[in-house]
Symmetry: C2
Subunit: 208 residues, 2 copies
């Protein structure tokens, strides 16, 4: 099984909540490094990455679909035309690895969901994509569970902190510096970031 | 296999970082409800809970060990005397369930670790407890990995958001209200807490 893995991606002005730590250019390069980590994990799990972008974006190694709709609109235009099992995975999950993605795509249910921090949905796996539509933003995890129930399809919730950990806020960088192994962690280290650990809470610092 | 599950527990003045949302008495009852959820999950996974308390604490249904040392001191006094596989699990993991704990205790390595948010360690499973000592606080996950390496024992890292999600800060309550199924979630709802979900980030609110 080599299902397509749709990866929504915003190349311009990404990750604005990291603006206090990273310049505009650094945010773009960091988002691209996280995307590379997600693509690598997806390929290791034998899925075929397909970027879903709202802007023109050159990618040598993977298929790119350009759309002028928002996240929900784009995916909800693609899903009804999709045949066979389809994965949707966010681009800001640099801790994703083949093992965690395999646990998702090997579900024995019709739909598998991986919740993100704060009620979001980080990964969706659909055996029959035409029976589902997405509704991101807000407590999307609860919305997606309900959409599946209303469609009469069975739902699995995959218990993974690697896929649960989306990188949005400055304190999320701690997770990447501790558990990351790919390009985005290397890029943070190149920029001078490291964890600052005393006996209390662990923070993140940057040498300039 | 019915390994003991050591659960360090502080009955007095727990969870001080929730003081902005909960009164002293509410924090004590909330911590006790989370402990009940952890005990239930541990029992469902066929482990035998043993509370490790620094204060006298009555518990009808489980064994209690009273110690006057701190967290590290207490556990490091117990481990050398422990024979056979032993689990150490924190009391503030109300999303713990039997499936996630089973994944920990079924490891084929000598030691299994589950990282907590921000570099902490939420669960440790030791096949030979006498070969290990704990060093909590700060980036304890990295310290525990190193302790295992220095002891020459193999380490597994279990990928679970249910065991990764320790409840410390106000925003952690969102996770419990979305994914919890036990007494601590019910207690929060009894107190009037619910998630407030608009199209942006999900928060938590309280009706008084």
């Amino acid at each position: 099984m080599c299902p397509p893995a749709l990866i929504p991606y915003k190349p311009k002005n990404p990750k604005t909540r990291l603006s206090s730590l990273l310049s505009d250019e650094e945010r773009e390069r960091f988002a691209a490094a996280m995307l590379d980590d997600v693509k690598a994990a997806v390929k290791d799990a034998m899925c075929s990455p397909v970027l879903v972008c709202t802007e023109l974006f050159d990618s040598e190694d993977v298929q790119v679909t350009i759309t002028d709709a928002d996240l929900n609109g784009s995916l909800n235009a693609i899903l009804p035309q999709s045949v066979g099992p389809t994965l949707i995975i966010m681009a800001d999950l640099p801790l994703a690895d083949a093992a965690s993605i395999r646990r998702v795509i090997q579900t024995d249910k019709d739909v598998a969901l991986v919740p993100g921090r704060g009620g979001g949905t980080n990964v969706i796996f659909l055996k029959d994509p035409a029976k589902f539509h997405v509704d991101y933003y807000g407590a999307s995890f609860l919305k997606h569970k309900k959409i599946a129930e209303e469609a009469g399809v069975s739902v699995d919730v995959i218990d993974s902190f690697r896929l649960h950990t989306d990188i949005d806020e400055p304190w999320d960088l701690v997770e990447l510096l501790i558990h990351g192994t790919g390009k985005s962690r290397a890029y943070l280290e190149e920029l001078g970031f490291s964890i600052s650990a005393d006996q209390g809470r662990v923070g993140v610092g940057r040498k300039r």
